[in-house]
Symmetry: none
Subunit: 216 residues, 4 copies
């Protein structure tokens, strides 16, 4: 009718890159960061596409649903984060106790560089998603299991090597995971590393008690 020149600026049409792996990485990394800091439900796929500079079609080509992407994030990135921050440091430490203390110390050091305490990626996702969906539940549970198993194995190695006498390494490992997770929750709620430091000290007290007189 009036004015028919409403074409969108064709010249701005995004350049195509054809880099499937890079694209997947960008999306998965953006999703890991967004999901673990803001929460699965609080993040829209639009946010993720924007953060990763990916068009809707390309995104859909690689990730059928939001849930599938989240499972990928959990199984790859979250597991990897736990491995890097906990499993590897503990495995390569002299004893379980020193490894645990060292891992937490490293995390505290990293947090103190940044300004905000965003909590533990695994726990953030677990508390939001483990209640509802079986697939999420299974994925998250297996990471917790790997974490606990690594700690327990190290404790068993300590016992075998004569460095400690844990009566129930599995229980002790679960407790360490729990204490750290809860301390991080406290740290997130107060937006301060102070609870983490406090709890670390207490964790050391506990570990000394169970490693020496063998109460657990």
């Amino acid at each position: 009718m009036i004015a028919r020149d409403l074409q969108p600026p064709k010249q701005l049409r995004q350049r195509r890159r054809n880099d499937p792996e890079g694209l997947r990485d960008r999306v998965v990394n953006a999703a890991f960061h967004a999901f673990t800091t803001r929460g699965y439900h609080a993040v829209s796929v639009h946010d993720l596409r924007e953060a990763a500079s990916v068009s809707g079609g390309a995104y859909a080509h690689h990730f059928p649903t939001k849930k599938a992407l989240a499972l990928l994030v959990i199984e790859r990135q979250v597991l990897e984060a736990v491995r890097k921050a906990w499993i590897e440091p503990v495995m390569s430490a002299r004893t379980a106790a020193t490894g645990i203390a060292g891992a937490i110390a490293a995390i505290i050091a990293e947090l103190e560089e940044k300004q905000a305490v965003m909590g533990c990626p695994l726990n953030n996702l677990a508390l939001e998603l483990a209640g509802g969906d079986k697939d999420f539940q299974a994925a998250l549970r297996s990471i917790f299991a790997a974490w606990r198993k690594a700690l327990a194995d190290k404790m068993r190695a300590d016992v075998a090597g004569g460095n400690a006498r844990y009566v129930d390494p599995d229980a002790a490992a679960a407790f360490v995971v729990a204490a750290y997770s809860g301390a991080m929750a406290l740290a997130k709620a107060t937006q301060s590393v102070e609870p983490l430091k406090l709890c670390t000290k207490q964790l050391v007290v506990y570990l000394k008690a169970v490693a020496q007189n063998g109460s657990a």
Copy 2:
């Protein structure tokens, strides 16, 4: 103006009953349950209105925004839940250690009646909301503070009464909160009370250690 009953006097048009407090209670209770089990972002206000059988107009009259409702839930219901499950049992127990063990035992007993482990209401909300919004953060933080303070006060009372010699009751209280919170997270992730039982035993070990030889 003269009433002109154009519609035949529908007997079905059920008489409205003004019950603002009941309505508010229904909504707040529904919100407490839904928010703490499914998560704030996973629940729509439509869900809540339906669960509470409340019309859109009535809902809007009482709760300006979803956030305001959530703050109400946190400040009233969540605080009350922590009080009932933790603060009151511990305060009325003989010692901090027995109170803590008793509180967790009661929670485990309650969980074993039900089928699903939905986690700690406070921690569920904290992990989802403490990262983003200042108002949520403040509300949640104050509940954690009350929880920690109650435990620490009881420990200080134990010290004063000669029943224990905690060196740092605040740290010990924070650790108890953290260990329980983390154990509950583990329980939720595995959908089993087993981690909770395991961790409780270890918590007792810790408490014995710090209460007797005064390491903390």
Copy 3:
């Protein structure tokens, strides 16, 4: 279930005033201001009740619908505003021409005190509402008619008194109303009194032309 003390603060219950006329005045004045500056559709009855500090029940008791209130505003306040700003000054002036110039000058002076140019109340409402609703249309049209009639009558008096020789006073009056209305629209769009001043000068030129050589 948990916490049942959710009663709204009963003590805050608004004091009842029982001042029906004052209440009506407050509402009608608030509505006049809001409707003529922000527009009928842009203002909610909630806004009006708040601006007039009137509860929903009291509001509804006096004004059955939003439209009825608006009609009242038009028939009372808008008409009164036109009377005060135009009809009375012109009627009491020596001639139509001096009355018109004086009326506009007074309006300009008033605008220059304030910061924003909100336009002519009558025209603001007319352009928004005259297109759709017959009742609004009739109410607005009658005000324009009164305005035009007053100007035409004064011109006819001028002719009778030998002060001017308007050939078509009705046309001249309509033109004055139109020129002023359009000038105010221009002033509102530019948020400046400058177009109003410019147009006033031209209006004087026109009036001299038609009053002296009798072209209209």
Copy 4:
């Protein structure tokens, strides 16, 4: 993933046709018509989508907000309407006076074909929107400026060509715009072209006066 046609291949599921420009045109034209006749606030985006037969998703893809759509309408369609109805006819006329008279005459002729007088698109929007929002204000102001400038330029050309002696072409142009705008407002309020005809005659009187003896 293999396509599994769980629904029988619905023949009715009409094939989607991608026509972004057509869709945008449909929406913008519908918006132009609805906004300028019924008003910005009186029209819901639902109305527009329905009028343009556009789904919610498609609409959102092209127009982020209602305001953005309105700005587009103003900057494109309203400007174009003013250009077609006023600027081009006046520019291509022999003199400013004949151009102005011709433009209004054409508008009157068009109105007499239809039944309703919906007013000037530009003024309708201006009176509703220029009071509140800075972006709307700027967009509308620039159209008025273009309109006034075109008339003033034509008058200056007349002076240069010796066809008239306007002392202040800018003021005369503003006055013409104002008089027409106000006359159209009157016409809308009375739902009749009569005020428009009346005022046009007077406008000619004015133009003769200022063009010949050079009073403005």
